[in-house]
């Protein structure tokens, strides 16, 4: 009997050893750091996670780069300063002669045009599309035109497949001249002038019943569209004048434009990526009219259709990348300062469990933790503040944690939403004890936030004072709004993420004690949380914002009416006007004053959100690692690192 069991076990063991024999092994890198969640994407146009920015900015180099310590823009692939026309609208950048891709090719101005155009294409689906449509002349119009064409081509494709189309597609198909011409003849009323979606729904049905060779119409339209694209793009304000000169035309003067060009969405893209562009019917577009590249282009070992793997132009290149395990970076031998870079190889390892990451750091397996997100982070803070662990440092992040108030929905979860009244919002803000949350509840050393933009974070910008805790005034305001002592306020719905449990419970307790209301905390995991928040299915929700560039608008734009990240549904024409006025203002000091006035409306009058704290993010750097600077953007450059083990 036992020998049979042993036989089975032995067979299993052999199998195990076989699997083991194909596992990888590599020597330790000069520098190893932890990326808690792994890389979400290495496509600079698509990325929106800080972890991804961090690695991308070591692999690629924009026209400018952020200084590792001050985060001010310094010269990158282009020489500074660019030539700027008197109206401040046109920037002409000269690409450095010695800027090189990791395969030795010189960096070309067209590589920037390619990278930026990719980010604008609907098929790329960039989260930061607005950086182009808000700033670059003609970009918004180009994107709109492309989207309309994609709707048309998808409509024609679905009709050719025999599928029903939706109202937006019907609208685009009806407006397409060749189709528009045949509609009256086929007995379909001309619906181009109509606007109601119901009209287009009816039209969509009628189109489906027409005896038309939709396949031919689709193919013809696809070809025509592909032929028009370059011509249309020439109206967008980014063009390569020659191989080394890039001209950028802005919509309006932008004092922080050089900061934007250091942002990942503005990185260049090597021409070899074109080898992986999807085609349909001989046209470099998908059948839906989208510009799509094989997502494998970001892999260092992708070899197909003549593609030779990822090519980057930064100080490092990607040597290998195993999903959610490890990414190995090595010095880009063609980088202009390649010989000066002391740290020749960098490993990014993945530890999803923060405590395990800390243990790996303590055991010496990793050299750097760009965040210590453990449940005992107050203990980490204490060790750092008392000087017991000088290797634990803090980054005073350009970031704010706040509570959003739902300013628009009359009812939430079948309960009356009292927060449509600004007085109620202000009462809740006045009752909030930020100092207690920061000093007693969290004890992480975060900074109390009375403004949305962190004080001192942006040069020349003086944020408003905000509201200070005043329980009597809070009670009075609540009484003024008809809810004296919390009367008639239904249980307040507080939408939270489990990670912010302590703050949310503390805030709820404060409100319950001082205002006499009942607060029901509703924990949701991140996706459903984001869904509920974006759809305004909450009364109060936790929120945070990490600034992307050194200008107050990186925070303040989110509260402009209709902004995609305006999760409070807030709208105040006076605020919008001030932000718009600042946008068009040519004098930097006055511009910042206008923005401060706008912010004052947010944090002192209307309170669509209640700022609580500005994060101080703890990081751990081994003492033998020199040249790594704690900075407010939490982006770390490995180019200047020295590891003196």
């Amino acid at each position: 009997m036992i020998y049979r069991i042993l036989l089975v076990c032995g067979a299993l063991l052999t199998g195990l050893l076989f699997i083991y024999s194909v596992a990888e092994r590599s020597p330790r890198a000069d520098f190893t750091y932890v990326n808690p969640s792994g890389i979400h994407t290495l496509d600079p146009a698509r990325m929106s996670w800080l972890q991804d920015f961090r690695i991308a900015l070591n692999l690629w180099e924009g026209l400018t780069v952020s200084h590792p310590e001050t985060t001010r823009p310094v010269a990158g692939a282009a020489m500074l300063p660019p030539r700027v026309t008197d109206d401040g609208l046109t920037h002409t950048f000269s690409i450095r002669r010695d800027a090189r891709w990791s395969n030795g090719d010189p960096v070309n101005a067209r590589d920037f045009v390619r990278g930026w155009r990719r980010a604008m294409e609907p098929g790329t689906a960039a989260d930061y599309l607005f950086l182009f449509t808000d700033h670059i002349a003609g970009a918004a119009e180009y994107v709109e035109w492309r989207l309309e064409r994609v709707a048309l081509l998808t409509g024609l494709l679905r009709l050719s497949q025999g599928w029903a189309i939706d109202a937006a597609q019907a609208r685009a198909v009806a407006a397409h001249p060749p189709v528009g011409r045949i509609l009256p003849a086929a007995g379909v009323p001309d619906a181009r002038a109509a606007t109601a979606d119901a009209t287009f729904d009816r039209l969509a049905k009628q189109l489906g019943e027409l005896e038309v060779d939709w396949r031919a119409v689709h193919e013809r339209t696809l070809r025509q569209h592909a032929a028009q694209m370059d011509d249309r793009f020439s109206a967008v304000g980014v063009r390569a004048i020659d191989g080394r000169t890039l001209a950028v035309e802005l919509k309006r003067p932008c004092p922080y434009f050089l900061d934007l060009t250091a942002f990942p969405t503005f990185l260049p893209c090597h021409e070899s990526v074109e080898l992986l562009r999807e085609t349909s019917r001989g046209v470099p577009l998908t059948a839906e009219g989208l510009v799509v590249y094989d997502p494998q282009w970001t892999k260092p070992d992708c070899r197909r259709q003549g593609y030779a793997g990822l090519v980057t132009n930064g100080p490092f290149r990607m040597a290998s990348w195993r999903f959610k395990r490890r990414a190995r970076l090595e010095v880009n031998p063609y980088y202009r300062e390649a010989l000066r870079i002391a740290c020749r190889t960098v490993d990014m390892v993945v530890f999803e469990h923060p405590s395990s990451a800390l243990m790996a750091y303590e055991a010496g397996d990793v050299d750097f933790l760009p965040g210590i997100d453990v449940p005992y982070d107050h203990e980490i803070a204490r060790l750092a503040r008392t000087g017991k662990r000088p290797d634990f440092r803090f980054c005073n992040a350009l970031a704010t944690f706040y509570f959003n108030f739902n300013c628009v929905s009359d009812a939430v979860l079948d309960r009356v939403n009292p927060f449509v009244d600004a007085r109620v919002r202000k009462a809740f803000a006045l009752a909030m004890d930020r100092e207690a949350i920061v000093a007693e509840v969290l004890q992480r050393g975060d900074r109390v936030a009375r403004s949305l933009v962190p004080r001192g974070a942006i040069e020349g910008y003086d944020p408003p004072e905000g509201v200070v805790r005043d329980v009597t005034r809070a009670a009075r305001l609540l009484a003024d709004s008809g809810h004296a002592g919390g009367a008639d306020i239904p249980p307040v719905d507080l939408l939270c993420l489990p990670s912010d449990q302590r703050v949310c419970q503390a805030a709820a307790a404060t409100w319950e004690q001082t205002l006499g209301v009942r607060v029901d905390i509703r924990f949701k995991e991140s996706k459903t949380f984001a869904h509920d928040k974006a759809n305004l299915q909450y009364m109060i929700a936790r929120g945070n914002w990490f600034g992307d560039y050194a200008d107050p608008t990186t925070f303040l734009d989110c509260l402009v009416t209709g902004n995609g990240n305006n999760d409070s549904g807030y709208s105040n024409p006076r605020y919008d006007a001030l932000v718009a006025q600042a946008r068009d203002c040519r004098e930097p000091p006055r511009r910042l004053r206008l923005l401060a006035q706008a912010e004052k409306i947010i944090v002192e009058e209307d309170l669509p959100l209640l700022t609580v704290l500005h994060y101080s993010i703890p990081i751990a750097v081994k003492p033998y690692v020199k040249g790594l600077h704690a900075n407010p953007r939490l982006r770390f450059s490995f180019k200047d690192l020295r590891v003196e083990r």
Binding site: V8, G38, P122, L147, A168, P295, G564, N565
Partner: protein, 306 residues
């Protein structure tokens, strides 16, 4: 025998397809926006383009796309990790989980069966009581406790194992041991109960009365019968162990498939959810077929009955 295997396989395929279709329905009906991946709200324009690209504007096209992909064994893109396909993710993660899972099952059998046999033979003796207590501990301690404990002892203090990660044989023992503990405890308990049952039966008494060596009677005659319930437990257990454990992978930073199983569902990543569910379903069905075959091999009475 062959008829049995073929019949089981056909039934398995039908089961798997039903699971696949059901998973699709559930995956698309969970509330939330799967296309929002980053910390920023996805622009409306971008979302529209992505919905078109993935056929999400037409559920039937969306589903048939999955089924057509299944026929080609191509599970398509993921929403959460744009740069990787579901196939790449599974190809990367499954071997890791299979290795840890099989090691865990090995440990469970090698340690659990003898513990159960000795416990049954020396019933209520010191060994039985000790293993009983250990079994209780193994079943009740959650993996994040045992995992963290083993890490602290072996990686931090004794420094005989790396803290986590994957790539060398040294990375295997701790996760395998953590994963094995509950399985070992269960196998030991199961063996003990089955052995107690068998040891009281007539054929054992006869064998002992005929003067056969007790060792032979216990290990050969009794265990052969007592092993059957363990075998039927091992089938689903193998599938479960090999599809990874979210907790063990998280504690040890192991790039296995268990984390994708959970994360994909949380991220509403339909493609990855469907492919991981499929992997689990296929493993479960396959393991059950294997166990059926082994059953017949271990016990000729069953083969005759078939």
């Amino acid at each position: 025998m062959i008829v049995l295997v073929v019949r089981r396989c056909v039934l398995g395929v039908v089961t798997i397809f039903c699971v696949y279709a059901l998973t699709f329905v559930m995956a698309i009906s969970i509330p939330g926006n799967p296309l929002r991946q980053g910390p920023r709200n996805i622009p409306a324009e971008a979302e529209r383009a992505l919905r078109i690209r993935y056929n999400m504007d037409n559920n039937w096209l969306y589903f048939t796309g999955f089924v057509a992909g299944l026929a080609r064994l191509d599970f398509g893109p993921t929403f959460t990790y744009n740069d990787w396909t579901c196939n790449q993710i599974i190809a990367d993660a499954l071997p890791v989980s299979v290795m840890i899972g099989l090691s865990a099952i090995l440990i469970a059998v090698v340690a659990g069966v003898p513990a159960g046999v000795f416990g049954a033979v020396g019933r209520n003796g010191w060994f039985d009581v000790t293993t009983g207590a250990l079994v209780l501990l193994g079943v009740s301690l959650p993996a994040f406790v045992t995992g963290s404990f083993l890490l602290i002892v072996f990686a931090m203090y004794l420094k005989v194992a790396p803290v986590g990660g994957w790539g060398t044989l040294a990375h295997l023992p701790l996760p395998a041991l953590t994963l094995a503990l509950p399985f070992t405890a269960y196998v030991a308990r199961l063996t003990r109960v089955a052995m107690l049952d068998v040891l009281g039966s007539d054929f054992i008494r006869t064998a002992l009365a005929k003067g056969l060596a007790p060792r032979r009677v216990i290990w050969d005659h009794a265990l052969r019968v007592a092993f059957l319930p363990i075998l039927s437990f091992l089938g689903p257990a193998c599938a479960q162990a090999m599809t990874g454990s979210f907790v063990v992978e998280k504690v040890y930073g192991v790039p296995g498939i268990g984390q994708h199983f959970v994360n994909a569902a949380l991220n509403l990543d339909a493609g990855l959810v469907m492919s991981t569910v499929l992997v689990f379903a296929v493993l479960l069905v396959a393991m059950n077929v294997v166990i059926d075959v082994l059953y017949a091999w271990f016990d000729p009475r069953i083969k005759d009955a078939l």
